[in-house]
């Protein structure tokens, strides 16, 4: 077993840390959050410094990177500028789907643009009646000669209006098996017939989420990604890595929360001593540190397994479940340690706390993670 990073990983993360301190300092991220503004400049800086190129095939301007390296990148983004980690993680699933299933034309346009600083492709899957039960979806695609016409409504479509494209999932109403009746399309967001309604969220203020109304939106038929009616397995192919990426960003946020807590506990004097000198506070801090260490080990292990080509069918769900909850606990503890200051808007721990809460819902809820992991565990036990 070797817990060391490679020299290349160390150099990359060093470079990224410096970049984030330069281009996404805490003062800027706080300001953007207060103004509910997307971090366009820091995102462009990630592109300009080759971070967005990682894991994209070289013919589209990318550079090879394994899943462990991408995990380290997400963790670092999460630690210094959580919204960047979130945006990057959201992009992983759509971008990887396009790498895997997109036509040459789609790949050249989308991947090339992403490497140069385009926003990730938004994912249009959830509908008012179809959340975790994605197969209950209703949005339709009607073929019309060389074109296809979309109708329907998508919920919680993060980045939809400001991204160039939505990766739209539609349902073929004729199909009896819902999982074999879903298709995946590349829908440009400037297509006539699209209307966006921004949603107010508890956190993620710099990463806007929309309700999208689609009325007779017409695009060329060649915007199909992959095979007709194969959208569901295509989407599932990259859910695991998206969840891992969200976990890594959450771990970074938890590390930031612990750092703030430790520095505060050393400084804040009550009853004549720094609060860190009291055992009650030390216990909280130690529990936070243990959770961070466990989370980090868990994501690195899952990343390593994926790099080895091993299945992470239940491991990734257990990891997501553990990390989302532990990260929520750690950021909550940070608010607690900092007392009144922790609840004030001018300190970052409140932001981490608000932003991290979504991790137990987005990318698959805690409950769905149980549903994935539980049956798999039982199945394995039956086999052995």
């Amino acid at each position: 077993m070797d817990f060391r990073w490679t020299e290349e990983q160390e150099l990359l993360i060093q470079s990224l840390e410096e970049l984030l301190q330069r281009e996404a300092p805490e003062t800027l991220m706080a300001e953007l959050d207060a103004r509910h503004e997307f971090p366009f400049k820091p995102w462009q800086a990630l592109a300009d410094n080759g971070i967005l190129a990682l894991g994209i095939p070289e013919e589209y301007g990318g550079v090879p990177a394994d899943i462990t390296t991408l995990t380290l990148v997400c963790e670092t983004l999460g630690k210094y500028a959580l919204p960047l980690g979130i945006i990057y993680s959201l992009g992983i699933i759509t971008i990887r789907d396009i790498i895997q299933f997109g036509s040459e034309e789609i790949k050249a346009k989308v991947l090339g643009g992403f490497v140069r600083g385009d926003l990730p492709v938004a994912l249009g899957i959830t509908e008012p009646q179809a959340g975790s039960d994605a197969a209950a979806m209703k949005a339709t695609a009607q073929i019309d000669g060389d074109d296809v016409i979309f109708n329907g409504q998508k919920m919680y479509c993060t980045l939809a209006k400001i991204a160039k494209y939505i990766l739209l999932m539609t349902r073929d109403a004729q199909g009896t098996n819902p999982y074999a009746s879903i298709s995946m399309w590349l829908l440009p967001t400037d297509t006539p017939g699209l209307r966006f309604n921004i949603l107010n969220k508890v956190g993620w203020w710099t990463v806007p989420t929309y309700e999208v109304f689609i009325e007779n939106a017409r695009v060329p038929r060649k915007n199909l990604v992959g095979q007709f009616n194969s959208g569901w397995p295509q989407l599932m192919a990259n859910f695991e890595i998206e969840r891992l990426a969200l976990c890594a960003a959450s771990v970074g946020a938890a590390e930031a929360a612990l750092e703030d807590s430790l520095s505060y506990a050393n400084r804040r004097v009550q009853f004549g001593n720094p609060i860190g000198s009291y055992q009650a506070v030390q216990h909280i801090l130690t529990d936070m540190a243990i959770k961070n260490e466990n989370m980090r080990n868990y994501i690195y292990k899952v990343a390593w397994m994926m790099d080895q080509g091993q299945s992470v069918r239940h491991e990734h769900a257990m990891c997501k479940l553990y990390v989302a909850r532990a990260a929520c606990e750690v950021t909550d503890s940070a608010v607690q340690i900092m007392g009144g200051l922790g609840y004030m808007m001018d300190h970052r721990v409140q932001r981490l706390w608000r932003d991290i809460r979504l991790m137990r819902i987005g990318g698959g809820t805690d409950e769905i993670m149980y549903n994935i992991a539980g049956p798999q565990l039982l199945k394995h036990a039956r086999k052995s």
């Binding site: 990359l12 470079s15 550079v63």
Partner: protein, 258 residues
């Protein structure tokens, strides 16, 4: 244009540990490329990209500098190749020794048009080596260079002096120590980091440089200690901004500084 850029690899000053007796330990310090040398590397790489040619990074020091991560770090910032003179007798070498070793290496590299250095090393910051190197090579040497333009067979440079900017033209070869604001050094990306491992690294001994023995030291460091902290009153002023401001203004008047 054949450019050599000199960089010092040294312990990171921010990792210094002060022992209880006031002495200093660098045992746990990470070794890094001098923070003022990064600008010289950036300047060299930009000149090559604009005018063609090559950039050779050059560093001299103890064995410790011949470390694969440091080599990749240097090469990921754009130089084409690296020359290392890594021998333990060069540990803590004074500026004269360093300049002599670098001069011998530059001569061995051969046909060099331009040598760039940082403003000073990150650990000692004596700002001497580049100038001594130029003198030993018997070529023009200037410090505080904030702009370099290639012009005909020479260079036009700008120097940031205390009160003025001086524009000079000089023949090549030359040795120039650049300012910290000549360029913002690039951050290496993964492509460059991966490429770095494939670039040539030449390890030369002092014997390869025809320096049979290490040059005689001219300066001996007799002690290295943490600075004695200046005694301060350490009066903490808290309270509302108005109260704090009144209280501070009172102290400043008492101190006779307003």
């Amino acid at each position: 244009m054949k450019i050599v850029v000199c960089a010092k690899l040294a312990p990171d000053a921010s990792d210094i540990e002060v022992r209880s007796d006031g002495s200093i330990s660098l045992d746990r310090a990470e070794w890094r490329i001098g923070s003022f040398d990064l600008q010289a590397i950036e300047a060299a790489v930009r000149l090559r990209d604009a005018h063609g040619g090559s950039v050779t990074a050059l560093s001299a020091g103890p064995q410790r500098i011949n470390h694969s991560k440091l080599r990749k770090d240097l090469l990921s910032r754009g130089p084409d190749e690296l020359v290392l003179v890594a021998e333990d007798v060069l540990n803590g070498a004074d500026t004269a020794v360093t300049a002599q070793v670098l001069a011998a290496a530059v001569r061995k590299i051969g046909a060099v048009d331009l040598v760039l250095t940082g403003e000073g090393s990150a650990d000692l910051y004596f700002q001497q080596v580049g100038l001594q190197l130029g003198e030993l090579l018997e070529v023009p040497a200037f410090n505080a260079v904030s702009k370099i333009e290639v012009k005909d067979s020479g260079v036009r440079i700008e120097r940031s002096l205390e009160e003025e900017t001086e524009v000079l033209e000089l023949p090549l070869p030359a040795v120039l120590a650049v300012t910290t604001d000549i360029h913002t050094p690039r951050l290496p990306n993964m492509k460059e980091i991966l490429l770095a491992a494939k670039k040539p690294v030449y390890e030369w001994s002092l014997a390869d440089l025809e320096l049979e023995n290490a040059p005689e030291p001219r300066v001996e460091a007799v002690s290295l200690r943490a600075p004695r902290p200046v005694e301060r009153k350490r009066i903490l002023i808290e309270g509302s901004p108005e109260e704090a401001a009144q209280s501070l203004a009172g102290y400043l008047v008492k101190e006779g500084v307003v």
